[in-house]
Protein backbone atom coordinates (compact mmCIF):
# COMPACT_ATOMS: atom_id res chain seq x y z
CA UNK A 1 0.00 0.00 0.00
CA UNK A 2 1.04 3.62 -0.46
CA UNK A 3 1.17 6.35 2.20
CA UNK A 4 2.08 9.98 1.81
CA UNK A 5 5.07 11.10 3.92
CA UNK A 6 5.68 14.72 4.97
CA UNK A 7 9.17 15.88 5.95
CA UNK A 8 9.87 19.06 7.90
CA UNK A 9 12.85 21.31 8.55
CA UNK A 10 16.25 19.65 7.96
CA UNK A 11 14.62 16.33 7.04
CA UNK A 12 13.79 18.00 3.74
CA UNK A 13 17.52 18.44 3.10
CA UNK A 14 18.17 14.78 3.86
CA UNK A 15 15.40 13.49 1.61
CA UNK A 16 15.47 16.26 -0.99
CA UNK A 17 11.72 16.68 -0.78
CA UNK A 18 9.03 17.97 1.55
CA UNK A 19 6.51 15.30 0.65
CA UNK A 20 6.47 12.00 -1.27
CA UNK A 21 4.45 8.82 -1.68
CA UNK A 22 6.05 5.68 -0.26
CA UNK A 23 5.10 2.00 -0.48
CA UNK A 24 4.96 -0.13 2.64
CA UNK A 25 3.57 -3.60 3.37
CA UNK A 26 -0.03 -3.91 4.50
CA UNK A 27 -0.20 -3.64 8.29
CA UNK A 28 3.06 -1.67 8.51
CA UNK A 29 3.51 0.60 11.51
CA UNK A 30 5.00 4.10 11.61
CA UNK A 31 8.16 2.46 12.92
CA UNK A 32 8.27 0.08 9.94
CA UNK A 33 7.82 3.02 7.59
CA UNK A 34 10.67 4.92 9.22
CA UNK A 35 12.96 1.90 9.04
CA UNK A 36 12.35 1.56 5.30
CA UNK A 37 12.81 5.27 4.73
CA UNK A 38 16.14 5.04 6.59
CA UNK A 39 17.32 2.27 4.26
CA UNK A 40 16.74 4.56 1.31
CA UNK A 41 18.03 7.77 2.99
CA UNK A 42 20.61 6.71 5.53
CA UNK A 43 20.90 10.26 6.87
CA UNK A 44 17.49 9.79 8.50
CA UNK A 45 18.67 7.16 10.97
CA UNK A 46 20.16 9.51 13.60
CA UNK A 47 16.88 11.46 13.75
CA UNK A 48 14.89 8.50 15.02
CA UNK A 49 15.33 9.19 18.73
CA UNK A 50 14.30 12.87 18.53
CA UNK A 51 11.49 12.65 15.96
CA UNK A 52 7.80 12.71 16.70
CA UNK A 53 5.40 11.20 14.22
CA UNK A 54 1.87 12.22 13.25
CA UNK A 55 -0.72 10.39 11.19
CA UNK A 56 -3.69 12.26 9.77
CA UNK A 57 -2.49 15.44 11.51
CA UNK A 58 -2.57 13.82 14.96
CA UNK A 59 0.38 12.74 17.04
CA UNK A 60 0.67 8.93 17.17
CA UNK A 61 3.09 6.40 18.66
CA UNK A 62 5.65 4.60 16.52
CA UNK A 63 3.55 1.45 16.86
CA UNK A 64 0.63 3.12 15.09
CA UNK A 65 -0.66 0.90 12.25
CA UNK A 66 -0.85 2.69 8.91
CA UNK A 67 -3.52 2.48 6.26
CA UNK A 68 -3.40 3.13 2.53
CA UNK A 69 -3.54 6.83 1.76
CA UNK A 70 -2.52 7.94 5.28
CA UNK A 71 -0.65 11.24 5.62
CA UNK A 72 2.35 10.53 7.85
CA UNK A 73 4.40 13.47 9.11
CA UNK A 74 7.92 13.19 10.54
CA UNK A 75 8.49 16.03 12.98
CA UNK A 76 11.93 17.10 14.26
CA UNK A 77 12.19 18.96 17.58
CA UNK A 78 10.30 22.22 17.11
CA UNK A 79 11.61 25.80 17.13
CA UNK A 80 8.65 28.13 16.69
CA UNK A 81 8.27 31.42 18.50
Amino acid sequence: MTVRVLFFASLQNVVGSSELPFDVADGATASDLFQQLSLRWQGLGPYRKVLRVACGAEFVGWDHVLHAGDEVALLPPVSGG
Binding site: V50, E58, L75, S79, G80
Partner: protein, 142 residues
Protein backbone atom coordinates in the same frame (compact mmCIF):
# COMPACT_ATOMS: atom_id res chain seq x y z
CA UNK B 1 -17.83 38.19 24.68
CA UNK B 2 -15.48 37.87 21.73
CA UNK B 3 -14.14 34.39 21.01
CA UNK B 4 -10.49 33.41 21.37
CA UNK B 5 -8.34 34.23 18.35
CA UNK B 6 -6.14 31.38 17.13
CA UNK B 7 -4.39 31.90 13.84
CA UNK B 8 -1.53 30.63 11.72
CA UNK B 9 -0.93 32.79 8.65
CA UNK B 10 1.69 33.74 6.10
CA UNK B 11 0.36 37.30 6.18
CA UNK B 12 1.53 39.73 8.89
CA UNK B 13 0.21 39.38 12.42
CA UNK B 14 -2.20 42.11 13.50
CA UNK B 15 -1.40 43.13 17.06
CA UNK B 16 -4.56 45.24 17.06
CA UNK B 17 -6.69 42.21 16.24
CA UNK B 18 -5.05 40.31 19.08
CA UNK B 19 -5.66 43.12 21.58
CA UNK B 20 -9.23 43.58 20.41
CA UNK B 21 -9.84 39.86 20.82
CA UNK B 22 -8.75 39.86 24.46
CA UNK B 23 -9.77 43.24 25.89
CA UNK B 24 -12.95 42.92 27.95
CA UNK B 25 -14.82 45.25 30.27
CA UNK B 26 -14.78 42.60 33.00
CA UNK B 27 -10.98 42.18 32.85
CA UNK B 28 -8.45 44.54 34.43
CA UNK B 29 -5.29 43.15 32.88
CA UNK B 30 -3.93 42.29 29.45
CA UNK B 31 -0.49 40.75 28.90
CA UNK B 32 0.80 40.57 25.35
CA UNK B 33 3.99 38.92 24.12
CA UNK B 34 5.56 39.51 20.72
CA UNK B 35 8.34 37.40 19.28
CA UNK B 36 10.26 39.45 16.73
CA UNK B 37 13.01 38.53 14.29
CA UNK B 38 16.46 39.59 15.53
CA UNK B 39 19.03 40.94 13.10
CA UNK B 40 21.73 38.75 14.65
CA UNK B 41 22.14 35.65 16.75
CA UNK B 42 25.26 34.77 18.68
CA UNK B 43 26.99 37.70 17.00
CA UNK B 44 26.27 36.42 13.48
CA UNK B 45 24.09 38.60 11.23
CA UNK B 46 20.67 37.23 10.26
CA UNK B 47 19.08 38.33 6.99
CA UNK B 48 15.79 36.58 7.57
CA UNK B 49 14.07 33.67 9.30
CA UNK B 50 12.07 31.18 7.25
CA UNK B 51 9.32 29.66 9.37
CA UNK B 52 7.81 26.35 8.40
CA UNK B 53 4.63 24.92 9.89
CA UNK B 54 2.58 21.78 9.73
CA UNK B 55 -0.62 23.83 9.73
CA UNK B 56 -3.39 21.36 10.62
CA UNK B 57 -1.47 19.93 13.57
CA UNK B 58 -0.06 23.30 14.62
CA UNK B 59 -3.55 24.78 14.85
CA UNK B 60 -4.83 21.78 16.80
CA UNK B 61 -1.93 22.15 19.24
CA UNK B 62 -2.51 25.88 19.61
CA UNK B 63 -6.15 25.23 20.42
CA UNK B 64 -5.07 22.66 23.00
CA UNK B 65 -2.74 25.21 24.57
CA UNK B 66 -5.58 27.68 24.90
CA UNK B 67 -7.78 25.05 26.55
CA UNK B 68 -4.98 24.00 28.93
CA UNK B 69 -4.34 27.62 29.91
CA UNK B 70 -8.04 28.07 30.67
CA UNK B 71 -7.91 24.98 32.88
CA UNK B 72 -4.90 26.33 34.79
CA UNK B 73 -5.98 29.95 35.27
CA UNK B 74 -9.16 32.02 35.32
CA UNK B 75 -8.83 33.99 32.11
CA UNK B 76 -10.82 36.36 29.97
CA UNK B 77 -9.85 35.69 26.36
CA UNK B 78 -6.74 34.50 24.58
CA UNK B 79 -5.08 35.24 21.27
CA UNK B 80 -2.39 32.99 19.77
CA UNK B 81 -1.18 33.98 16.35
CA UNK B 82 1.90 32.52 14.68
CA UNK B 83 3.18 33.53 11.30
CA UNK B 84 5.06 31.31 8.85
CA UNK B 85 6.98 31.98 5.67
CA UNK B 86 9.91 34.33 5.27
CA UNK B 87 10.33 37.14 7.86
CA UNK B 88 12.89 39.95 7.96
CA UNK B 89 14.48 41.57 11.04
CA UNK B 90 11.96 43.34 13.26
CA UNK B 91 8.95 41.46 11.91
CA UNK B 92 6.61 39.76 14.36
CA UNK B 93 6.71 35.96 14.23
CA UNK B 94 4.32 35.25 17.09
CA UNK B 95 1.82 37.12 19.25
CA UNK B 96 0.35 35.79 22.49
CA UNK B 97 -2.23 37.88 24.31
CA UNK B 98 -4.33 37.07 27.35
CA UNK B 99 -6.72 39.01 29.56
CA UNK B 100 -7.75 38.29 33.14
CA UNK B 101 -9.40 39.97 36.09
CA UNK B 102 -6.08 40.77 37.73
CA UNK B 103 -2.53 40.84 36.42
CA UNK B 104 -0.99 37.78 38.08
CA UNK B 105 -3.03 35.32 36.00
CA UNK B 106 -2.39 37.18 32.74
CA UNK B 107 1.39 37.25 33.34
CA UNK B 108 1.57 33.59 34.37
CA UNK B 109 -0.65 32.38 31.53
CA UNK B 110 1.13 34.53 28.93
CA UNK B 111 4.51 33.22 30.00
CA UNK B 112 3.32 29.61 30.05
CA UNK B 113 1.64 29.95 26.65
CA UNK B 114 4.74 31.21 24.83
CA UNK B 115 7.05 28.76 26.64
CA UNK B 116 4.80 25.82 25.81
CA UNK B 117 4.08 26.95 22.27
CA UNK B 118 7.80 27.14 21.56
CA UNK B 119 8.46 23.66 22.87
CA UNK B 120 5.46 21.76 21.49
CA UNK B 121 3.77 23.29 18.43
CA UNK B 122 5.03 21.92 15.05
CA UNK B 123 6.79 25.01 13.75
CA UNK B 124 10.42 25.36 12.71
CA UNK B 125 12.68 28.25 11.89
CA UNK B 126 15.61 28.39 9.49
CA UNK B 127 18.16 31.16 9.99
CA UNK B 128 19.37 32.65 6.75
CA UNK B 129 22.48 34.83 6.83
CA UNK B 130 25.47 35.78 4.70
CA UNK B 131 27.20 32.52 5.67
CA UNK B 132 24.32 30.26 4.68
CA UNK B 133 21.27 28.65 6.19
CA UNK B 134 20.72 26.57 9.30
CA UNK B 135 17.60 24.87 10.67
CA UNK B 136 16.91 25.22 14.36
CA UNK B 137 15.53 22.01 15.83
CA UNK B 138 15.05 22.21 19.57
CA UNK B 139 18.50 23.05 20.94
CA UNK B 140 20.24 21.81 17.80
CA UNK B 141 21.43 23.73 14.76
CA UNK B 142 21.26 21.44 11.75
Amino acid sequence: MVADLIQLTETPISVDDCLNAVRRDDCGAVVLFLGTVRNQTGGQPVDRLDYQAYPPLALTEMEKLAAEARAKWTLGNLALWHRHGSLGPGEISVCVAVSSGHRVEAFEAGRWLIDTLKSTVPLWKKEVGPDGEVWIEGDARV
